[in-house]
């Protein structure tokens, strides 16, 4: 266990403020909310290199883009460029907050790819290219990623409209008071809603020959006397090992993987565009659908971002409830993940079913307070939607003090020195910690590589600073450690739960006024003390907030222009970004190992594809 990381102000450097020393700085945005440095696009690599090498910002957390076409706020005064490429960097060494860079570029321009400095920019730059059409010069593999090649346009641009376009923002005028709603099937009967890029013919198009970079491959020695040939094999998209619809494009020789490329987007629904059409509150239930195993922590990440933007305070009791829900969620996620690592190893279903037994109990508890097992939609800006029910804490305490530790002990006894897990897990899927960090990997994956980086300690949110818990780390960075770290983390979760359930202010009290109903509560949807009805208007500015979701750093980036709909709503998805490491981790191992290596990253396709 390494020393606890302490948060510190991000813009203090050894030599003064960053604005003075950062190469290419044009200025800073207003600092009411998140402060960002505007950096000249042609100097962006210098700025990133400076931050990485001189200031220790070694973790390129998020790369995204904002389209400012039609933006009327004060923030863009004097900036004529249409797009901003936005970078969020953190330091895994010193912890603390982020540095935000905005690189303004005009339409259809290019910008240098950050992949040479941070290989983790790979998937994120492809996403920006796909959704905004920004080209990254020097990117090794700049292809569309979430959409297919025959998709017309770049959907996150402000002037792009979907096939079933209603209006630019909700609420749609057609729903009330005249109810002149048109059925989508009548508006656009099948077959008439597809347009293709210019010069594109769907009939003659053929999927491009599988791109599998041989560059990933270790130096291939080959055996002269054997006439071997490498072949391309698709794992998925319809395969139980892919945890959803996901494809691993592999080039193998014999059974050894030479290169592997993740292919995704089958579940893509353009969550972020929906988010821009929605009002702030409406996004809350949509976040449930990202990582659908962990709706409570998704809610929290989003609520945190909006609270940061608007400066809403959260009452004590609600903070405790949030911690309790998030840690129960982590327990659910980690036992689920352990069960499915075993599943991927070939121990079909039996361990998985025992591992998720307690999950049912926890989901019962979720259902009791929120009304749903998976899509909880329980948090609101400034609190949670309702108080706990009578008797809830007693049940939760029984779970935390008795049942959950017992279940973990049983899993530990059953699995930890299991021969199969040892034989197939030890030394498989190895990647050193530095590589993982430069690939922007977060969560249990880096802790299994010995990096004690956990946002709950590095940049505490909520009331996490009040609990006594540790960040477990393991040294080997292989499948086995990735299994075991989850067990250890689940134990810490139980530890936090025990403290939170004992200390929760107000204890078992249940106010009958705490119901989700406008006639009963203190205000619209503001049960546990929060503000923010359905027409919340945050001040102009931007905010990035992140939580340690069970899968890694889940971040929400929100830019507001002061209207009821977010100008930009971006999800920094840990599942998606952790997939950066899938190729490098699999190379050199056997095809059957790739299945477990993927399993041990622990992805949920709802969040990967968004």
């Amino acid at each position: 266990m390494s020393a606890t990381l302490v948060a510190e102000a991000p813009d203090q450097t050894q030599t003064g403020t960053l604005a003075d020393v950062l190469p290419g700085v044009l200025g800073t945005t207003s600092d009411d909310t998140d402060k960002a440095y505007l950096v000249a696009a042609d100097k962006i690599l210098d700025a990133l290199a400076y931050l990485r090498d001189k200031e220790g910002y070694d973790f390129l957390s998020s790369v995204t883009c904002v389209d400012y076409q039609g933006y009327n706020g004060k923030q863009r005064k004097g900036i004529s460029e249409r797009f901003d490429v936005v970078y969020h960097l953190y330091s895994t060494k010193k912890g603390g907050g982020h540095v935000v860079l905005h690189a303004p570029i005009p339409s259809n321009d290019t910008i240098a790819s950050a992949t040479s400095l941070f290989p983790g920019a790979n998937l994120q730059e492809r996403e920006v290219y796909d959704l905004y059409g920004i080209k990254f010069e020097g990117h090794p593999n700049l292809r569309r990623i979430l959409l297919w090649d025959g998709f017309n346009g770049h959907p996150m641009r402000k002037d792009w409209k979907e096939a079933y376009f209603d209006e630019d923002s909700k609420p749609f005028r057609s729903r009330h008071p005249k109810g002149s709603y048109e059925f989508h099937e009548d508006k656009l009967p099948w077959g008439k809603n597809a347009t293709y890029p210019a010069g594109w013919d769907p009939d003659t198009w053929q999927a491009p020959v599988a791109y599998v970079p041989v560059s990933q491959a270790p130096k291939h020695l080959g055996e002269a006397h054997l006439d071997t040939e490498s072949i391309v094999v698709n794992l998925g998209p319809h395969h139980p090992s892919t945890h959803g619809v996901f494809r691993m494009l592999t080039r193998i020789e014999g059974e050894t993987i030479l290169a592997l490329e993740p292919e995704m987007g089958y579940l893509h629904r353009n969550h972020e565009k929906i988010g821009e059409r929605n009002t702030y509150l409406m996004n809350m239930p949509f976040t449930d659908r990202l990582d659908y195993l962990n709706s409570m922590s998704n809610n929290w990440g989003y609520a945190l971002a909006v609270e940061k933007l608007t400066g809403i305070e959260v009452p004590e009791r609600a903070e405790y409830i949030r911690v309790i829900m998030a840690e129960f969620t982590r327990f659910v996620n980690h036992t689920w993940s352990i069960g499915f690592i075993l599943n991927d190893l070939g121990a079909l279903q039996t361990p998985a079913l025992y591992a998720i037994e307690e999950r049912e109990m926890i989901l019962d508890l979720f259902e009791e307070v929120s009304g749903a097992r998976l899509m909880c939609n329980y948090l609101r800006f400034g609190g949670v939607v309702r108080d706990l029910t009578a008797g809830w804490l007693t049940k939760a305490r029984y779970l935390a003090n008795d049942r959950l530790p017992r279940a973990l002990d049983e899993l530990d006894r059953m699995l930890t020195d299991n021969e199969i897990l040892m034989a197939r897990g030890r030394g498989v899927g190895y990647l050193p910690a530095e590589d993982l960090i430069s690939l922007s990997v977060s969560g249990p994956m880096i802790r299994a590589a010995g990096v004690a980086y956990d946002i709950r300690k590095a940049e505490p949110y909520g009331v996490y600073d009040r609990f006594d818990f540790e960040i477990p780390t393991l040294p080997h960075s292989d499948i086995y450690d990735r299994y075991y770290i989850r067990l250890l983390e689940a134990r810490q979760s139980v530890r936090i739960l025990q403290q939170a359930l004992a200390d929760i202010p107000g204890g078992e009290t249940v106010g009958f006024g705490d119901y989700a109903s406008a006639t009963l509560s203190q205000g619209f949807g503001s049960i546990m003390g929060g503000k923010g009805g359905y027409n919340l208007r945050p001040p102009e500015g931007e905010a990035y907030a992140r939580v340690e979701s069970p899968k890694g750093e889940l971040g929400f980036y929100i830019a507001s222009d002061g209207k009821p709909n977010p100008w930009r709503y971006h999800v920094r998805s840990p599942c998606y970004i952790n997939l950066n490491a899938l190729g490098p981790m699999s190379v050199g191992y056997k095809l059957a190992d790739a299945v477990v290596i993927l399993g041990a990253i622990d992805i949920v396709l709802g969040e990967v594809d968004r």
Partner: protein
């Protein structure tokens, strides 16, 4: 030692088997302890949190007892005390609905003046994401979450777009599903009405000249449940809810007015509904055209 992992694994399975076996030997197995028996192996299970051994529920014979806050598809409340729809067609639910799956046509009187009553009210249940925002924001307690989750039908368009008739349930049905919240709400409503009455009276006193006119106003309807939030009342209602659910699970079809009941209806009804939906679509298109013409789009 090679093979211990296998033995341990089998040991866990054996432990579960034995626990279930021991449980089954009891007169009432633990997992059925608090359940409602419906006969013929059907029951509503209220699983204890400390249940060991077998945890599975043999759906559809066995069902879980749903917590009060369970949310599925909204329903509209028919206030049986006042004999009117609670909904005033204010449109807040349609505005706040994240996937915008509610659409409402406000009613108008003979002169074409809008009145506070919906003429039509639709929810596209295939789009509804069960978020419950409509319920949270309705200022008149007119829309609540139904617990009925068995809604499978063959076609989406004719059948999953619920109209007002299918959405509306009597107040008692809501009271049975949501006993605690209902009790609190009734209390609050009674208090509000009393306050309103008191205010009216105060006004009447202050403006003595207008007193006669104020008195002529129809008196507010008396509040129904005087007992209010007493737990015994809540418990009684809960019992009623269970009885209802039991009756329904027992296959005694017509007792609960719900979308599922109508969805499961005979072919004739489906055809009738199809015709209604065609009509609805035609009207919707017409209105859309009209709106666009008005807006000059």
């Amino acid at each position: 030692m090679f093979g211990t992992g296998l033995l341990k694994g089998l040991g866990v399975t054996l432990k579960h088997t034995l626990e279930t076996f021991a449980d089954d030997r009891g007169k009432v197995p633990d997992r059925y302890r608090d359940s409602i028996e419906l006969g013929q192996g059907r029951r509503i299970i209220n699983q204890p949190i400390d249940q060991e051994g077998l945890l599975t529920i043999q759906y559809p014979e066995e069902k879980r007892q749903l917590p009060e806050r369970f949310r599925y598809i909204p329903m509209l409340i028919w206030d049986s005390e006042k004999n009117e729809d609670r909904c005033t067609a204010c449109g807040i639910c349609a505005k706040v609905c994240p996937p915008q799956c509610i659409w409402i046509v406000r009613d108008s009187d003979a002169n074409g003046k809008p009145v506070t009553r919906p003429a039509e009210f639709y929810i596209d249940a295939a789009v509804c994401m069960s978020c419950s925002f409509c319920v949270e924001f309705c200022p008149f307690d007119a829309i609540k979450m139904n617990h009925d989750y068995e809604l499978a039908v063959f076609d989406r368009y004719p059948q999953l777009v619920y109209d007002m008739e299918e959405l509306t349930v009597p107040l008692e049905y809501y009271a049975a599903l949501w006993p605690e919240q209902y009790a609190v709400e009734q209390e609050k409503r009674a208090k509000d009405e009393e306050e309103k009455k008191a205010q009216d009276e105060a006004k009447a006193k202050a403006a003595a000249a207008k007193a006669a006119a104020a008195a002529a106003k129809p008196a507010a309807a008396p509040a129904a449940s005087s007992g209010g939030a007493k737990l015994s009342r809540a418990e009684e209602l809960k019992r009623k809810a269970q009885e209802r659910a039991a009756a329904k699970a027992g296959g005694d079809g017509e007792s609960v007015p719900s979308p599922a009941a109508s969805a499961a209806a005979a072919d004739g009804e489906v055809d009738a509904k199809k015709a209604r939906m065609e009509e609805l679509k035609r009207k919707a298109q017409e209105r859309a055209r009209q709106r666009k013409a008005e807006a000059g789009e």
